[in-house]
C-alpha cells in the first residue's frame, strides 16, 4: 500500500516537474481561482441570505415576505425593520 501511495506521489510530482506549457496554464488557473474566491466571492458576492440571517426560519420569513409583499421586493434591512 505504501509503495502504491509513493508511486502515485512520484507520478504526480514528476508530471508537474516536467510541465512546460502546463506551468503557464496552472498559473492562469491559480490566479483565476484567487480572483474568483478571494476577491469576487469575498467582497462582491456574499450569499445574501446567509450573510443577513442566521436560521432557516428567518430566511423563510424573509423570502416569504419578498414573494408575497404587494409592494415588491424589500431590502433585507427594510424587512428587518418591518418584522417584529
Amino acid at each position: 500500500m505504501k509503495r502504491l501511495i509513493a508511486s502515485v506521489i512520484t507520478f504526480y510530482a514528476e508530471g508537474f516537474r516536467r510541465m512546460t506549457l502546463g506551468k503557464t496554464l496552472w498559473a492562469i488557473i491559480l490566479i483565476k481561482l484567487f480572483v474568483i474566491f478571494a476577491v469576487l466571492k469575498l467582497f462582491f458576492f456574499p450569499n445574501l441570505l446567509n450573510s443577513r440571517f442566521d436560521t432557516p426560519e428567518q430566511k423563510s420569513a424573509y423570502v416569504a415576505k419578498q414573494l408575497t409583499a404587494p409592494h415588491g421586493n424589500l431590502l433585507p434591512e427594510q424587512h428587518q425593520k418591518h418584522t417584529p
Binding site: F11, L21, L25, F45, V63, L67, P76
Partner: protein
C-alpha cells in the same frame, strides 16, 4: 414595484457569465470525444502518427479546459447574491444535481485528466486510453447534471412546494433526472458540441494546409473531425425535432416567439427566413412579419407530429380557449387571477402559522395547492407581460438552424474531398473552414439564446418569474460586478487566444519528444 434597472442588470450579468462559460464547455465536450477516438486509433493500429495527432489535440483540450475551468462557479455566486429568492425557493432541487456534479463528475474528470496528461509512457496504453475516455465521460457527466437543473427550470416536475419553508422539495428524483425535457436537452447540447469541436479541428487543420505544413496530420484530423461533426449534426437534428415537440407542449409561448406566430393555425407553416415587424403587439392588427418565406405544414409537424395539428400563437396563448391534451387552455388573465389567489393563500398560510391557527393553515394550504400551478402568474398585472422578446428569439433560432444546415453541407463537402484525396489542394475550402470556426460558436450561443431568452419572463416556468426571483440589492453593485466580469473575462479570453495561437503555430511535437509537456 419591480426595480427593472436591477432586474435588467442582474439578467445581463447572468447572460454575460453564461455566454462566456459556454465558449469553453462545448469545445471541452466535443474535443474530448475527438481526441479519445484518435487515441483509440493509436491503440488499435499502433501507428505513431495517431499518437502525435492525439497529443496535439490533447494540448488544445488542456488549454481550453484550463482557461474555462471554474468560470461556471461564478454563476453559482450570482444565484446566492443576485437571485437569492430563486435560490431559496428552488431548495434542494437545484442544489442536488449541482452537488452530484461537484462530487462525482468533477472528481472523476480531475482524477483521470492527470493520468491523461502525465501518463504517456508511464502507464499502459490501454490504461491511458481508458483515462482519456473517462476524462471525456466526466466532462459529459458534469454537463448532464447542470442540464438536468436547467431543464427543471424549463419544465418543473418531481417537486412539492412547502409553504412553511417557502421551498420546493424534491419528491421524485428520477422524474427530474429522466424528465424527457432534461434527457433531450442533454443530448441536444452534447451532440451540438461535437459539431462545434469538429469545426474547430477542421479550421485549425485547414490553417496548416494553407501554410503547407503538417499535411498528413491535418488531413487525418479533418477526416475524424468531419465524420464526428456530421454524426453530431445528424443527432442534433434528431434531438432538435424532439425539442420542438417538448417546447410546444411545455413552453408554447417560446415556440410562438421562435416563429413570431401571433395567430394560431392548423397545418402551420415554418418560417424559413423572414423579417419580423418590431412594432407588432399582440392586440393590434399589424402583420407580425414584414416579409417571410414559409415551408407549409412543417411547424405543425414539428410541434404536434401531425401535418394538420394546431399550433397556438401568442394571441391564442394570451386569450386561451384552445384545446390542449390537458383540456381547454385558460387565458393569461385567468391565470393571473389564480396566481394572485395562490400568492394570497401563501401570505394567509404564513400568517396563520405565526398565530398557530391550524384550521386556517389547512384552509389556506388547500387554496394554495389548488392554484399553485399558476403561482408565478400572480406577479403579473397585464397579460402582455408573459410575452418574451420575439425578434431576438426569432432571429437567434434562424441563425442556429441556418448555420446548422450550413455545417451539414460543409462537412459533407469536406468528407467528399477528403475521400477523393484532394482536400489539401482546395485552398477555398481551407479558408471556408477557418471562417467556419466563429460560425460554429455563433450557432452554439444562438441555441442558448433561444432556450434562455425564449423562456422569459420565467426563471421557473409558470412558477416563478425573474422579477420575483431577483434579490433586493442595490442595482449599482450589480453594475459594478458586471464590468468587473467583463474585464476579467476579456483578459482570460485574450490569454486563451494568445496561448492557443502560439501552440497552433508551434504545431504538433516531433514524435521523438519525450513525455507530455
Amino acid at each position: 414595484m419591480t426595480d427593472f434597472v436591477l432586474l435588467d442588470w442582474s439578467r445581463a450579468q447572468f447572460a454575460l457569465t453564461a455566454i462566456y462559460h459556454w465558449l469553453f464547455v462545448p469545445l471541452t465536450l466535443g474535443l474530448g470525444v475527438i481526441m479519445s477516438i484518435m487515441e483509440t486509433l493509436y491503440v488499435k493500429t499502433n501507428d505513431p502518427k495517431w499518437r502525435r495527432t492525439t497529443r496535439f489535440w490533447m494540448k488544445i483540450f488542456g488549454i481550453n479546459f484550463a482557461i474555462g475551468v471554474a468560470t461556471g462557479i461564478i454563476l453559482e455566486f450570482e444565484f446566492g447574491t443576485n437571485w437569492s429568492n430563486y435560490s431559496w425557493f428552488v431548495g434542494d432541487i437545484f442544489g442536488a444535481p449541482l452537488a452530484i456534479e461537484g462530487i462525482f463528475a468533477f472528481f472523476m474528470e480531475a482524477t483521470f485528466i492527470a493520468v491523461m496528461f502525465f501518463g504517456w509512457d508511464k502507464v499502459s496504453k490501454r490504461f491511458h486510453l481508458a483515462s482519456t475516455w473517462l476524462t471525456t465521460a466526466g466532462a459529459t457527466l458534469s454537463a448532464l447534471w447542470i442540464l438536468v437543473a436547467n431543464a427543471w427550470m424549463q419544465h418543473p416536475v418531481g417537486m412539492e412546494f412547502n409553504p412553511s419553508t417557502v421551498r420546493n422539495e424534491m419528491v421524485d428524483f428520477f422524474s427530474i433526472v429522466f424528465s424527457p425535457v432534461a434527457v433531450n436537452k442533454f443530448l441536444h447540447t452534447v451532440f451540438s458540441s461535437w459539431m462545434l469541436a469538429a469545426a474547430v479541428v477542421t479550421g485549425i487543420s485547414s490553417w496548416y494546409l494553407l501554410k503547407k505544413r503538417e499535411t498528413t496530420f491535418a488531413l487525418d484530423s479533418i477526416k475524424i473531425a468531419a465524420i464526428m461533426g456530421l454524426a453530431g449534426l445528424a443527432l442534433t437534428l434528431f434531438t432538435g425535432d424532439k425539442s420542438a415537440f417538448h417546447v410546444a407542449s411545455s413552453q408554447p409561448m417560446k415556440l410562438a416567439a421562435m416563429e413570431s406566430l401571433y395567430n394560431g393555425q392548423k397545418s402551420a407553416g415554418l418560417t424559413a427566413i423572414g423579417i419580423v415587424n418590431y412594432e407588432k403587439k399582440h392586440n393590434d392588427n399589424s402583420p407580425p412579419m414584414s416579409w417571410e418565406i414559409t415551408i407549409p405544414k412543417i411547424l405543425s409537424l414539428l410541434a404536434s407530429h401531425d401535418l394538420d395539428g394546431f399550433v397556438p400563437g401568442i394571441c391564442d396563448i394570451i386569450n386561451g380557449g384552445y384545446q390542449t391534451k390537458d383540456g381547454v387552455e385558460l387565458s393569461v388573465s385567468e391565470k393571473i387571477r389564480r396566481g394572485k389567489l395562490a400568492l394570497a393563500a401563501l401570505a394567509d398560510y404564513r400568517k396563520a402559522a405565526g398565530a398557530n391557527d391550524t384550521a386556517a393553515m389547512q384552509e389556506s394550504r388547500t387554496r394554495l395547492d389548488t392554484h399553485f400551478k399558476y403561482f408565478g402568474y400572480g406577479y403579473f398585472n397585464t397579460p402582455d407581460e408573459v410575452v418574451p422578446n420575439v425578434p431576438l428569439i426569432f432571429y437567434s433560432f434562424r441563425i442556429m438552424v441556418i448555420l446548422g444546415l450550413y455545417f451539414i453541407g460543409f462537412f459533407i463537402v469536406t468528407l467528399v474531398c477528403i475521400f477523393k484525396k484532394n482536400f489539401h489542394e482546395k485552398r477555398g475550402m481551407h479558408w471556408i473552414a477557418i471562417f467556419s470556426v466563429p460560425a460554429a460558436y455563433i450557432a452554439s450561443q444562438a441555441g442558448w439564446i433561444v432556450a434562455e431568452v425564449g423562456r422569459q419572463p420565467w426563471a421557473i416556468q409558470d412558477i416563478l418569474p425573474v422579477n420575483a426571483a431577483v434579490s433586493a440589492i442595490p442595482s449599482s453593485s450589480v453594475k459594478i460586478t458586471f464590468f468587473i466580469f467583463l474585464t476579467l473575462f476579456s483578459v482570460l479570453l485574450l490569454a486563451e487566444l494568445r496561448i492557443l495561437s502560439k501552440q497552433i503555430q508551434l504545431g504538433p511535437e516531433p514524435e521523438e519528444t519525450g513525455a507530455e509537456k
